[in-house]
Symmetry: C2
Subunit: 404 residues, 2 copies
């Protein structure tokens, strides 16, 4: 059985890296000093398990437990350890550390698996500093050229490759060298469904499409006290109208979020000359996602015309919905049943590394409930009992897959 105490302790310890005591959360954004500290900790734990550690050119970390036989493609268990700002301790870390717990179970039983088990921590899953999100797994899956990825500019003016080298995680493994036989990812749901239904395990059979855009509204700066309302080209006012209209797009299962907004010159008595905001659109249905994108474009075009103002939109990220491997999903459901855990099939609202690896290998995900449906927030929480239930399912699925 899985050693739950070590897993829970490691989650707590990793969660202390980048901690902000005043805010009660932690900020371990990709390729910052805090991310480096988290990576260093992860490597020490991998070394203690005597894993064969390899780091690729985009900074993905792979720790492999050798198999008894000869060279075979590994069963991979992955997720990420980077975070958003003021994050909880579970998003990503839970899946990586549960992977270590699975390996530890094999080590402690004194048996070598019938095929290698690789625990992967992918670079920059959150995508808050460098876009796109799920970047490390996307590069690994061949969906993004590694040199292009290394050249990504950050929201803070840095270049991804420079920051990766700076923190010492620019490895030499060519991305994509380690193609898994199958891929499993254990994650907190980050949404309210499992808790609301009182279900213990989510069997993730698909994942919604993600469209990220950056919208720039170009008005004209002028004096707030002297410019008649009808002569204004107020970028903030037009941006606010656009954002208000977004509510009408977010219907029938489409989600729409404006997470970032910035005004220029951002002074109290100056009509803003510029507003820049991001739009995150999601839908499990590609046709509906395209319709939402179309409606957004129409709203922006209409506003540009009626307000006599320049608006343009740049696509930052676009991922189509993903359907996971049904055989692997069934195996997860079977393991949950065997362990006496209630479960349901479900859609992932969040993007995950599994969606990228699904391009090159059969992949599926296991979810555990998120208390209050809260994530990307220091109050993100799942009970120890449910965290261990999820890890038990993961271990059981791994055992079943390796026993075949």
């Amino acid at each position: 059985p899985l050693d739950g105490q070590v897993l829970l302790l490691q989650i707590r310890l990793l969660g202390e890296i980048g901690a902000e005591p005043e805010q009660d959360g932690r900020t371990r954004i990709a390729l910052t000093d805090a991310d480096k500290e988290g990576r260093d900790q992860l490597l020490r734990w991998m070394e203690a398990l005597e894993l064969d550690i390899r780091i690729d050119r985009i900074g993905n970390i792979f720790g492999t437990l050798r198999a008894e036989g000869d060279q075979q493609a590994p069963l991979m268990i992955g997720s990420h350890i980077d975070s958003v700002a003021n994050a909880g301790a579970l998003d990503g870390c839970y899946g990586v550390l549960a992977g270590l717990a699975v390996v530890r179970a094999f080590r402690e039983a004194g048996v070598l698996p019938s095929r290698p088990i690789t625990v992967a921590a992918f670079t920059n899953e959150e995508g808050v500093r460098y876009q796109p999100d799920m970047m490390g797994s996307l590069v690994h899956a061949g969906g993004l050229d590694v040199d292009l990825a290394l050249n990504t500019p950050g929201t803070d003016g840095t270049r991804l490759g420079d920051e990766l080298a700076r923190i010492g995680y620019a490895g030499d493994l060519e991305p994509g060298s380690l193609v898994p036989h199958e891929y499993l990812e254990l994650h907190i749901e980050q949404g309210p469904i499992l808790e609301a239904e009182g279900v213990q395990i989510g069997v993730v059979e698909n994942l919604q499409g993600i469209s990220w855009q950056q919208v720039t509204v170009k008005g004209s700066a002028n004096h707030a006290g002297t410019t008649p309302m009808h002569l204004r080209h107020d970028a903030a006012s037009v941006a606010a109208t656009a954002i208000t209209h977004l509510r009408a797009i977010a219907v029938d299962g489409t989600l729409a979020t404006v997470g970032c907004l910035r005004l220029e010159p951002n002074l109290i008595n100056v009509i803003p000359r510029k507003a820049v905001f991001t739009v995150d659109l999601r839908d499990p249905d590609e046709t509906r996602l395209q319709a939402a994108e179309k409606r957004l474009a129409d709203i922006l075009a209409h506003l540009a015309e009626t307000e006599g103002i320049e608006i343009h939109s740049e696509q930052l990220v676009r991922f189509e919905p993903v359907v996971f491997d049904s055989d692997l999903a069934s195996a997860i459901a079977a393991s949950a049943s065997r362990l006496g855990l209630s479960h349901r099939y479900m859609t992932s609202g969040a993007g995950h590394d599994a969606q990228m690896i699904a391009r090159i290998a059969p992949a599926a995900m296991i979810f555990v409930p998120s208390q209050g449906g809260v994530s990307h927030n220091p109050r993100e929480h799942t009970s120890d009992e449910l965290l261990l239930a999820g890890a038990d399912v993961l271990l059981d699925v791994v055992r079943q897959r390796l026993a075949r």
Copy 2:
């Protein structure tokens, strides 16, 4: 007659201090290094005119040309040399440097005036870093305690008094020591009216009320991909709705502007937990201004209730409308007529130091047209001819007042 070439040259030279060649504007925000440089330049010009220079505890600069007789209250000509970000070269500087041009005309004519003429440059008129705006003149007029003012926190976390001392302009004159007999301020209109009507000189008889508030919307951070729309407490979405409603407040002569807006955590895939924005409301009519404030409060209260979200508003600045001295305004109109310049009576949309000095002395203002009504923008412009026309009116009014 007034030496126009020196005035135009000084406007250009002062406008080069804090210049940003890429943006084609200048940023000389109160009590920054650029403000210090501008002040140093102004002092050198005052010294060249052998003015008696005094600096008070809030950093207001007074340069006085002695009168022929004994001690009398001065005729004061004032404005400011601090700027917003990416500003034009005229806002404020024009009035101060025209004051020097008036003094220079007396110097060059070799006559001492019948009463002292004091040229004043007031600290922090723009109020973009430290609120309230018109701070130096407000302190001078006894409307704000100097020690309170020195304790003002900046938008950048600094303390006004520290920055004033740092740039070496914390004088020892007790504010309010120099009460003027009368006060005149020459300024660009910063709005479109004079140009639209083809009028050369604005005789400013009143100035609208100004209400600045900072609104904070407190939502709850959550994941953009997993949180159903109906379970969100999205601070950005609520702020956008509030800003959109502001258009309905800005009717019948009321102006409403949102110049600053900031989200937290401001990440692309996180529903914002907080939005902070400023509202600038103006109206020449106090009753209407109060009605607008009431409507804003109602909108915010209604949104807080319907969205189940906490919203609060903090008053940053509140100045009632000001009526200028009618006798002084008539004198301006008479001078414009005498010089063959077209003129009209008008209301100032912008706040000005004159509105504060009006509390302690008869005050009025002279406006010249702003090309395209543009200000707080590097494209702020007035032709040399009109700049000189305004200065000629100022000199003529000063001569008339001193001749009485």
